[in-house]
Symmetry: C2
Subunit: 558 residues, 2 copies
């Protein structure tokens, strides 16, 4: 999994803002950009990290329990493994300057090596950052070193990517946890199965990372979030292996899997997972609808997920996102799209709708041909009943086609001096609109206070009978020289608004470092105490991903 | 919730084996009964319990934090609250002789009182049995007293039965945890909602009990098990209240709810739960099919649940259960049923099938009329494709109609000298047949060894894309004077077979005392250590349901 050290994905792939002229001009006007803004990237050869704090003996010990080629102390490897890929990480990475760095990276090739590495680390009080694809956007890989420790290493799991067992009768596949999204699908495809988990980080993230962060993907409305697909786990902890039973359901006490789902590397290193897999759907169909307002769209979406719609990804944009989508989607798709777009605008306006204050719903329906037809018709009926008009298949197709490219465009936006980040939450239906408005206002107000115009967009992309996730994207011109201050202030304002208005601090990005200060607000004093006790039982020395998920007031000594 | 002290349910209701002559004669021949066997029940007035070990001061203290009418020290109340309703419990209850008894029963009227009672118990090292409907069949209410404790009380939650909040938009209802099944449905019905949870204990069990044991009900194929419906919880622990967020889904670390789902009163007392509720279905339809073998039935059922069947309860009986059902179901339903049965037998035989070695699938489909029609047709198509023949609606109707009465019939069977009990497990599809045979053989062999004929039946009543539950009923003549020895031996043989053949020790009955010795086999040393650490954090003195779920080697001292 070779990747760019300073930003997203494939080192040879770029998606420049300049090749999206309509979008760029839209952003210039919205964000008050002159077009001359920029944020530079250091040259790799200029990056010099402080020396590793691991003694030669400890390095030798790590090599002894793995192999020389499985331990790396190079600067770029250390840099990459000391940050995630959130806005804050990228701002720092591009300068080659992080608060601290892991001292080495270990790449175990199997579970036995993971266990041995943990044993060495436990015995020598080396702190461990379990690492999959490294795509955290919540600070999960920031190094928070206990000065009393013998060092900090990253355990990169990406060598462990095998399909270990396929039980086709039960629809179960057992993978090593370091397997990447594409490698999962490539190993299942010959058998006619899919896992059906497609987060935006799909190409550069791992199964273990998904499980450790309770990941969601674009088809989670159909297949469930990752926690809904995990049937059993094997986890290496400093106290030994924890293995849960491979059974469909149990009443044998609290569900052990749940201790590791969302544990973010603090309770153990997930080494293997047995997952529900499904037959690759026979067909897909796309549809899109425009509502006169976000409120009408919310009502339609709620009715859909509270009915028997089970085979469709549903994604509803608020007014700002609908307008931004209109100003960006067209040009990426085809050369004739501009014309189509104008025709579409005319048609929409003629019927009394507008992209500027409308709300766009996209539906991707999959299954057998008959199932698709029935479900599409039901979706159309419900949307029409809520005053929606059909926009055909192209908006949904355009979105699905371009989604894995969006992080590349984000890199270019940052280069052009734009602060751009996302955050997500979830709440019950009766509270969706209140939470939506509170978060949007909090971000806009904080940026205004600092003298910046902003663009804050939102969609509901994972919905449930009882409520929905809300996924926000926010942008403004970077505050030059104070890029991180600006971001911290916005993040603080937004998360405060979430906590004060009935949202969860994360629907699928996790907690990491960024949200850890809010864990008491989320789970209460007793809840956090219970999780800390759990961690102490599994990781008594506190070597695993210290300072993440559960805030620690003081560093532990060995 | 007034109930019989020595057996199931309504004190005024009986269902005598004599009113099921066909069944009784079938059982006589299967179990080698003379018909003169019996097991007596003591008279209530003859039951004298040992004196309460609670001091007068502590009784006064419990009354002070509640009210005089909320604390009870009567013999029958103490007896009922010191046992569940498994076979072992009933054998003991009928003699009025349990291994030990709670010293008093406290009935809190609200969460504040629960907190206060726990505080008194924590301060004075009084052990606490949280108690809902008392229908445990795994020994959850057996008193295992630490001699160093100041006493043992039951906290009976059944006064706390209010619907606290209904959020119709989000489809969420918040109940006090002591609410009974009928009271849940009665409070939801005026609003057009149902919880959809109908365990066989429905009439005499509570929401808190369901949550604490990961209960399943007859419609769980449609609505999910209870753990799938809980959106948030409030739990009183000796360290304070734990409250989880009311959000549809979260990635904020491990899922706190899961620490209490299946905690069986060992981690805290569930005081309130916010549940997903659904609109009452418009219609129901029944269908039944007979397969030439259990294997053919399993294949059909697997295909149904791995497809899009979402609105049907599906229940597949093995050959022995199909034969027993044929020999029992008809007579309870209607006077003309005997004739129908004969006609049915003739029709079935003519087509080359037999009830004696066939496998019966019952389906109850619900939803809107259109949904029902589509799903029923799909079910029929799949069953026919696997060689099944349709038996019409009556077997499924008969089963659904009589299911809440079966525990009354069990009481009569016990009176007639029959050992009758059930146990359940779950496994993946590829292992269903192996596990089924292993458990049936283990039970039959153990009983044979002791010189008893037996009847062991099984059905798959809760199925998932990856596997299914297996629900066994076993019967034999009681071993007179050694009723408990006989039962223990069978239970041990069956559970050993489950553990050795890839099953979970419980799919929905829980762990209690009976399965606690198997928890290490289920969760591993590290898994159990993690759960114990969790309990120690929430209940440091170990006052909550001691000796249950997590085996304790030695009693704690305060």
């Amino acid at each position: 999994m070779r990747r760019k050290w300073w930003g997203w994905g494939d080192p040879n792939k770029v998606d420049e803002l300049e090749s999206h002229p309509t979008l760029y001009s839209f952003l210039k006007s919205q964000l008050n950009l002159s077009g001359s803004e920029s944020y530079p990237t250091a040259r790799a050869e200029d990056i010099k990290l402080p020396e590793s704090k691991l003694t030669k003996d400890l390095m030798a010990e790590l090599i002894r329990v793995t192999a020389p080629e499985n331990v790396c102390g190079g600067d770029i490897a250390r840099l990459i493994h000391s940050a995630g890929l959130g806005y804050k990480d990228i701002i720092r990475l591009r300068r080659g300057l992080l608060p601290d760095y892991v001292d080495a990276v270990v790449y175990p090739v199997d579970e036995r090596q993971v266990v041995k590495v943990l044993k060495v680390c436990e015995e020598n009080y080396i702190e461990v950052l379990p690492y999959g694809g490294g795509s955290s956007v919540v600070g999960s890989f920031e190094v928070i070193r206990d000065r009393g420790s013998g060092g900090v290493i990253a355990v990169d799991m990406t060598v462990m990517g095998r399909l270990m067992k396929l039980d086709a009768t039960s629809g179960l596949a057992t993978f090593e946890a370091g397997v990447s999204g594409p490698d999962i699908e490539a190993q299942l495809a010959p058998h006619g199965f899919t896992l059906g988990h497609f987060p935006q980080s799909f190409e550069y993230s791992t199964l273990g990372g998904w499980i450790a962060t309770r990941s969601a993907g674009s088809s989670s409305d159909i297949y469930g979030k990752i926690e809904d697909m995990v049937v059993s786990l094997r986890v290496a902890t400093p106290k030994g292996i924890v293995e849960t039973k491979t059974v469909p359901k149990s009443a044998a006490g609290p569900d052990l899997r749940q201790l590791f789902l969302g544990s973010e590397g603090t309770m153990g290193i997930i080494t293997q997972a047995t997952m529900v897999v499904r037959r690759v759907p026979q067909a897909k169909a796309y549809s899109s609808f425009l509502f006169k307002s976000f409120d009408r769209g919310i009502e339609a979406l709620r009715q859909l997920v509270q009915s028997r719609v089970k085979g469709s990804t549903l994604r509803l944009s608020d007014e700002r996102e609908t307008w931004a989508f209109y100003n960006s989607a067209g040009e990426a798709v085809s050369t004739s799209s501009k014309l189509k777009q104008e025709v579409g605008k005319w048609y929409v306006a003629k019927r009394g709708f507008s992209f500027e204050d409308g709300s766009l719903l996209m539906a991707i329906t999959q299954g057998g041909p008959n199932e698709i037809d029935g479900e599409r018709k039901f979706i159309a009926d419900v949307c029409h009943a809520h005053g929606g008009i059909s926009l055909g298949s192209s908006p949904a197709e355009a979105w699905l086609e371009s989604r894995f490219d969006q992080p590349y465009l984000r890199d270019s936006m940052i280069s052009h001096g734009i602060m751009v980040d996302t955050l997500e939450t979830a709440t019950v239906w009766s509270n969706v609109r209140r939470l939506h408005d509170a978060v949007a206002v909090a971000i806009t107000t904080e940026l205004e206070r600092r003298g910046f115009s902003s663009l804050v967009t939102c969609h509901l992309s994972h919905s449930y009978p009882s409520g929905s996730s809300l996924y926000f994207t926010f942008m403004s011109r970077q505050q030059e020289g104070k890029e991180l201050d600006q971001w911290e202030a916005v993040k603080y304002a937004a998360t405060s608004a979430i906590v004060e208005n009935g949202g969860t601090i994360s629907h699928h990005h996790g907690v990491g470092l960024e949200h850890s200060r809010w864990m008491v607000a989320e789970d209460g004093e007793q809840g956090v105490a219970a999780l800390k006790a759990l961690k102490a039982a599994l990781d008594p020395k506190g070597i695993l991903n210290p300072g993440k998920l559960l805030p620690r007031k003081e560093a532990r000594t060995p």
